[in-house]
Amino acid sequence: MIILGIETSCDETGVALYHLEQGLLGHLLYSQTATHALYGGVVPELASRDHIQKLLPMVAELLQQQQIASSEISHVAYTAGPGLIGALLVGASVARALAFGWQIPAIAIHHMEGHLLAPMLERPAPSFPFVALLVSGGHTQLVAVKGVGDYQILGESLDDAAGEAFDKTAKLLGLGYPGGPALARIAANGDSSAFHFPRPMVDRPGLDFSFSGLKTFTMTSWRATNQDATSQANIARAFEDAVVDTITIKCKRALKETGYRQLVLAGGVSANRHLQQTLRAVADQEGFDLFYPRQEFCTDNAAMIAHAAAYRLGDALRHHCFEVHPRWPLSQLQPAKDLPKHN
């Protein structure tokens, strides 16, 4: 059985083929970043227009590259939400029409479940239960994961998501869009003792986050400098330290509260080296296991969608009515109907 996975929730077009016994066969990703950079953020209409041009040629290219005939595909999985409605509709419409024509079932996947399970594409893979830290441009959540679809939100951001905070702060420092990764790069050269940013909400009980105050702190600090490269690097460093420290404190707290011994990082910000290194050190010190996917599976991709679908075969759809869900809380998911044998 081979699952074709399709991802179009935001500004990346992704396709993947996942074999139930052999694992991931291959995947392709096209990023629209250059299209949107000009406008300082993702323009939803442009994203949709781009997806509809790229998606099907990428499906054909991947089938050709992997020498897979369409008759070998057993399921079409696609991101049904959350995300940009127009972008989601392109992927969903193409996916459901393919399933209709091929007369095979379709599987609607929650984008964040895709991220959350992505570390299980790697070896060694985490096993249930674990604590997942989902950190991306749209989400910052700590989740107790007991099984596929059995998610308890332990805490989440009350305002900006971590990735959003990175991008907005980068913009304040004149690093363009999307500036998060650029900010992380220059932060590596910054002096961590030059500035000290607050660690929001660490002195309060609970596992919620708040990152929007760091923007104001960045702006005030930045204006007080002569705005040279050194101050830019130092402020970037202070900002990143504050985010990483805050996340680390909350992760430790979440592990303690649940009693779980595994921490899983997922989502675009989980590719942040400083975050990975800091949590690795803490994991070694405190004796828990840390998992995160390779860089290309941290950011949006279709491999994670096809992979998540392998756990959701019991939820495969044989009817042809479909919808997308731009806002779709992870906590609304139901446990997977069955859990097939899986390598």
Partner: protein, 228 residues
């Protein structure tokens, strides 16, 4: 020749099965924002009732636009997926031209000026001349304010489409005695999309066919964002 046609550029959503000059089956529903819930289930119902399988069809025709961006993308994406899965060619049809054909058939007037409300004070606008077996474009499809919409240089014309509801008075003034009548309540339908596809294929052959990789929506409005 068997054609499957779909149209979802506005509030209406429709399907048609067409074979050798005859409408075999059709379905239409006014269902704003419910296109994805209806299109494929209704297609399955029509195909089953007609005892057709998608594999035995010769092409997929679809209303490529202009119209609501989301609606024309749903029609295009579904058409692309169906065509790719069954290895069929695609024939994108102008929704304005399809609407004009409906206006022609209902009114008997050969010259049709078609207009949809494009919002932002503009119309999707086009002018076509029909005969029972041909269509000729007289005014190229455009997005334009009614006040400066290109008018045909001669002849008498019939107005069709929702744009005539909003800008009818102004357009009537501009055309004066050359306007023979208006039907502002028609929606483009898949049956007309199928008929036009057949007509265009008859006139121009394989040149009008596209692949699932090249068949794209016809937006007309291309400025959708300004530089920050």
């Amino acid at each position: 020749m068997r054609i499957v046609a779909l149209e979802s550029s506005g509030d209406a959503c429709s399907l048609a099965l067409w074979q050798d000059g005859t409408l075999v089956a059709s379905w239409l529903e006014i269902a704003p924002r419910q296109h994805t819930q209806l299109l494929l289930p209704q297609l399955e119902r029509l195909l089953t009732a007609a005892e057709w399988s998608l594999n035995q069809c010769d092409m997929i025709a679809f209303g490529a636009g202009p119209g609501g961006f989301t609606g024309i993308r749903i029609a295009t994406a579904v058409a692309q997926g169906l065509a790719f899965s069954c290895n069929l060619p695609l024939l994108p049809v102008s929704t304005l031209q399809a609407l004009g054909l409906q206006g022609y058939r209902l009114s008997g007037e050969a010259n049709q000026l078609t207009a949809f409300d494009a919002r932002m004070g503009e119309l999707y606008w086009g002018g076509y001349c029909y005969s029972p077996t041909t269509v000729e474009t007289i005014i190229e499809a455009a997005v334009t304010p009614a006040a400066v919409a290109e008018l045909p240089v001669s002849g008498e014309w019939f107005g069709v489409g929702s744009g005539w509801q909003r800008d009818g008075v102004l357009l009537q003034q501009r055309l004066a005695a050359r306007l023979r009548g208006v039907n502002a309540s028609l929606h483009p339908e898949a049956a007309a999309v199928a008929a036009l596809a057949a007509m265009r294929y008859q006139q121009q052959g394989d040149a009008v066919l596209q692949t699932p990789f090249t068949a794209l929506p016809l937006y007309l409005r291309n400025k959708v964002v300004s530089v920050a």
